[in-house]
């Protein structure tokens, strides 16, 4: 599966469009990580556990989007966009969407 965030797959022709596909996941940090982040807020620096959590969650959202595209018979997704929203303290929704297409 090829993913791009531009309107085409460079070097390849688009044969068919399948429309919007999307994936989302909602994640909460655990209490220990929250506590660690609280300490970090005193000294400053990178919140490594938080970065890892977001990376992992984004991977899962992309995985779900790719499953949807595969079910449609697509082999690429173009114009992929990410969006994040904070739904509650310590929890975040990660949403990813794009257009499923078939290339040659």
């Amino acid at each position: 599966m090829i993913l791009t965030n531009i309107e085409s797959v460079p070097g390849k022709k688009i044969i068919e469009h399948y429309g919007l596909v999307c994936g989302s996941t909602i994640r909460a940090k655990n209490a220990f990580k929250d506590l660690g982040a609280g300490f970090k807020n005193i000294f400053g620096g990178e919140l490594k556990s938080y970065t890892a959590l977001m990376e992992e969650s984004r991977g899962q959202a992309i995985e779900r989007m790719m499953q949807q595209a595969q079910a449609l018979g697509a082999n690429a997704i173009i114009n992929v966009r990410f969006s994040t929203s904070n739904i509650a303290q310590g929890a975040a929704e990660l949403y990813v969407y794009g257009t499923a297409i078939k290339t040659e």
Partner: protein
């Protein structure tokens, strides 16, 4: 009295350790950014050369940076008086540059990164920032 002492200790720790961490981070950013100077990351979508393309793929990099106690105090004062909160500008600047460097590290042998987008979200009410940078890496046929 005890409250005041612990407050002063926290501000002191935040100021000294926070400044140290920030200095180190800026030094590492400068060094790593210099490594990837030959790999352009652009916000344009149509900067392709007339050359056969090997592959194109979506890449991303992210970083979450927290504030320190001293900066939280400064921004609290600023919220009262109004004006520019320069203490927080460095937090966002560091998070964005770190995200872009990580994105480039993931696509170190690409030729160009098209349509680079940067998205920011808050980590906590204290003022930490999480930044995601993503784009399409283009590899030309060698």
């Amino acid at each position: 009295m005890f409250d005041l002492i612990s407050f002063i200790i926290l501000v002191g720790l935040g100021y000294f350790i926070g400044t140290q961490i920030e200095k180190k981070h800026y030094a590492s950013l400068k060094r790593r950014e210099a490594l990837y100077l030959q790999l352009p990351a652009v916000t344009a979508k149509n900067m392709l050369e007339e050359r056969p393309i090997e592959k194109a793929s979506l890449i991303s990099g992210s970083a979450a940076i927290s504030t320190d106690y001293f900066k939280t105090l400064l921004s609290g004062l600023r919220n009262f008086l109004g004006g520019e909160i320069s203490a927080h500008e460095t937090i966002l600047d560091r998070a964005r540059r770190e995200a872009i460097v990580r994105l480039k590290e993931k696509a170190a042998d690409a030729d160009i990164i098209l349509n680079l987008r940067i998205e920011t979200s808050t980590v906590s009410l204290m003022g930490g920032a999480e930044v995601l940078a993503y784009g399409t890496a283009i590899y030309y046929k060698k």
